[in-house]
């Protein structure tokens, strides 16, 4: 299997746009064939094939921009094995020439004017970049990290193939010292321009935002999300909650929110569907025996997710008290780190803002998150009649590496059924 990479077509080129594919999947490609038109910072140029084979997969579609060295297509023998092999990682551009070491730089660069089109994938890079325990880092980056006490697993690499290089570690070290230096920008080209633009000011990143950015980026890059939305008739739930709150008030108990009921229902549904209470990490699947629910709380400084442990074993009012207390302490910045970690499933609710429905980003290492919208009165058809019902839309985002569509659907079915028959939530 041979990858076709985004070539360097000019000295200043950092990324290129596939303006058109001139070959289709399944086409035989011979050396010298024009496979695509590449738009560089200077011109549109033809990308010639450097190897032969059958174009088995197009990894980067027309109109998309990727850094040089990124695999854009796969050449194979026509057996279709490319489809199974898939891209090594679309997030991390494949290593360039220097990674292979065997590459004849002079020859390739002399000819690079018209495309160092394809190159065998370096074997030592393997297929599982990005998930290994040991982050890829240059020796210099490692030495500096040792010296300055920087944990490389917290550093995002900006070198070829996501390699952590000196500038990344130095930026991390500066951050650790609390000096206000700009974080390494994911779009290096844009950063300097922003500094010069008087209409744009840089907001120093809070630690919460930095962690959120890193973890959610990893999540979206590594976890293949899929989404399941259900419309839940919560007419009974709303009435049930009102009833419940009246009784609780009479006995001096706490007030229970719709969200508390949703959290409890999730915990119950997870107990019934342990296949959703899982984590996918380092090419391994872990099933959690306990159910710890993260409940997202929006703060001015960012998003925090306090954890209600063993939510399936707590009553709705216990969840309500604990959730409220932790949300308050989160707003005061007094949550302890262990109160924000260890969740096995999360719930995010934007209903209070009138959001009808939305899709949340999975909070790693969890395998799923439930996004809860607003309760709205809607016209529904029941037994052929129009009726006004209170409807709630909930969307499950699930990591397809760990949870299959049908498994997620069964979970959603049971969750919906619980929410529509709320007495069972407290059963």
């Amino acid at each position: 299997m041979t990858e076709i990479h985004m070539p360097r077509l000019s000295d200043t080129m950092e990324e290129g746009v596939i303006s058109a594919w001139r070959k289709r999947v399944g086409d035989q490609i011979n050396r010298g064939d024009v496979v695509a038109d590449i738009e560089t910072d200077k011109a549109v140029m033809e990308l010639e094939a450097y190897d032969e084979g059958v174009l088995e997969k197009i990894l980067v579609g027309e109109g998309e921009t990727v850094p040089i060295g990124t695999p854009i297509g796969l050449l194979g023998d026509g057996s279709g094995s490319a489809a199974e092999a898939g891209p090594s990682t679309s997030a991390a551009p494949a290593p360039e020439a220097e990674e292979s070491g065997q590459d004849d730089t002079s020859a390739s660069s002399e000819q690079s004017g018209m495309g160092t089109a394809t190159r065998p994938e370096p074997s030592r890079d393997g297929t599982s970049t990005g998930t290994g325990q040991r982050p890829k880092a240059s020796p210099l980056a490692r030495a500096i990290a040792r010296e300055k006490g920087v944990d490389l697993s917290t550093v995002t690499g900006t070198g070829p193939g996501g390699r952590i290089i000196r500038v990344d570690v130095e930026a991390a070290a500066e951050r650790n010292q609390g000096t206000a230096s700009p974080a390494p920008s994911a779009t290096p080209a844009a950063a300097p321009a922003q500094q010069e633009d008087p209409d744009v000011e840089e907001i120093p990143l809070s630690n919460i935002r930095r962690v959120t950015a890193k973890r959610l980026t990893e999540s979206k890059q590594q976890a293949p999300h899929f989404y399941l939305t259900s419309a839940v008739d919560v007419t009974d739930l709303v009435a049930f909650r009102a009833d419940l709150n009246e009784r609780l008030r009479a006995s001096g108990g706490p007030k229970v929110s719709v969200n508390d009921l949703v959290v409890k229902a999730c915990a119950t549904a997870l107990r019934a569907n342990p296949s959703v209470n899982v984590s996918y990490r380092d090419e391994k699947l872990f099933r959690h025996k306990r159910i710890h629910l993260g409940v997202a709380v929006a703060l001015d400084s960012g998003l925090v997710v306090p954890v209600v442990r063993d939510a399936d074993r707590k009553s709705v009012s216990e969840i309500a008290v604990e959730g409220k207390e932790k949300a308050e302490r989160a707003r005061e910045g007094k949550l302890k780190p262990d109160e924000m970690t260890g969740s096995t499933f999360s719930v995010s609710n934007l209903g209070m803002f009138g959001i009808e429905e939305f899709s949340a980003v999975i909070n790693p290492p969890e395998a799923a998150i439930l996004a809860v919208g607003a309760t709205r009165e809607e016209v529904q058809v029941r037994d052929g009649e129009f009726v006004a019902r209170k409807m709630l839309r909930i969307t499950l985002s699930a990591d397809h590496r760990a949870v299959d569509g049908a498994v997620g659907a069964v979970f959603m079915q049971q969750l919906t059924s619980l929410l529509e028959d709320p007495i069972r939530i407290i059963a």
Binding site: E110, S138, R142, G159, R166, S185
Partner: protein, 331 residues
Amino acid sequence: MAVITYRQALHDTLREEMLADENVFLIGEEIGVFEGSYKITAGLLDEFGHKRVRDTPIAEEGFVGAAVGAAMLGLRPVVELMTINFSLLALDQIVNHAAKIYGMFGGQCSAPMVLRTPGGGGQQLGATHSQNIELYYAFVPGLKVVAPSTPADAKALLKAAIADNDPVLFLENLALYNTKGEVPDEVAPAEIGKAGVVREGSDITVIGYSRMATVATQVADRLQQEEGISAEVVDLRSLRPLDRETIVESVRKTGCAVIAEDDWLTYGVGAEIAASISDGAFDYLDAPVRRVAAAEVPLPYAKPLERAALPSADSLTTAVHQTLEAVGHRR
């Protein structure tokens, strides 16, 4: 201080050394009456006579062997091998005799001789006459191999080579003979085995020797002017002994390196340098060492193909850019 060609520097040095020491004599093909294929020995036959400027038959093994014998008996022969390609015919005399005598015979006698010879392609001389095979000799303990890139270095190193008591292969380059440079009036013999930082820089180390050292300097100058890139250039000057210290020191400073060599990539001189960097500067490397070398083909005769196969300022520039990109230069 005078600005003279590399050719002139070699000629002047040979003449000076012959004037200074009557044991120094020249031997080789076409060096006398014809004044040398590349005119390095012009006028020397007239000045010093047939005894000290010996034209030989086309028989490399014979005249190199004769020089080995002369050296063992106390003379200081300076052999001209018309090009390094023809040194292959004398390989046994060089590798099995000149290089071994001192060690194999308990230091009873040495072979203080110089084998001057040009390498290099780019002259449309075809695959057999365009090689860069100095590596064959740099591989052999008992030999020294020096490779000056400038007229001043040519002078200083040729003096050192003639004064040295070991056999020295003195690598010249067809593309360098007409290059000019400043040469001080008084040039002291160089220290063989000492590389030079010919241009200081902080962003990247570029290492070369012979022709590619001059290309490296030109590229570095242009990158500084046009892009503000600060490239440090190390001119090896000597392939054996190899000045690993200077290489390592530079890479420790810059964190990355590109090696420019006229020979083939696989097993080439650059491989040894890269290994030295790995040994001495591993914890200082922010990107893999990159090599720029000739395409792995017998050098084509056709001009465009020959040009495409040889490393160039362009290919070196590209390699420097790629490496700087890998270390996040200016990010």
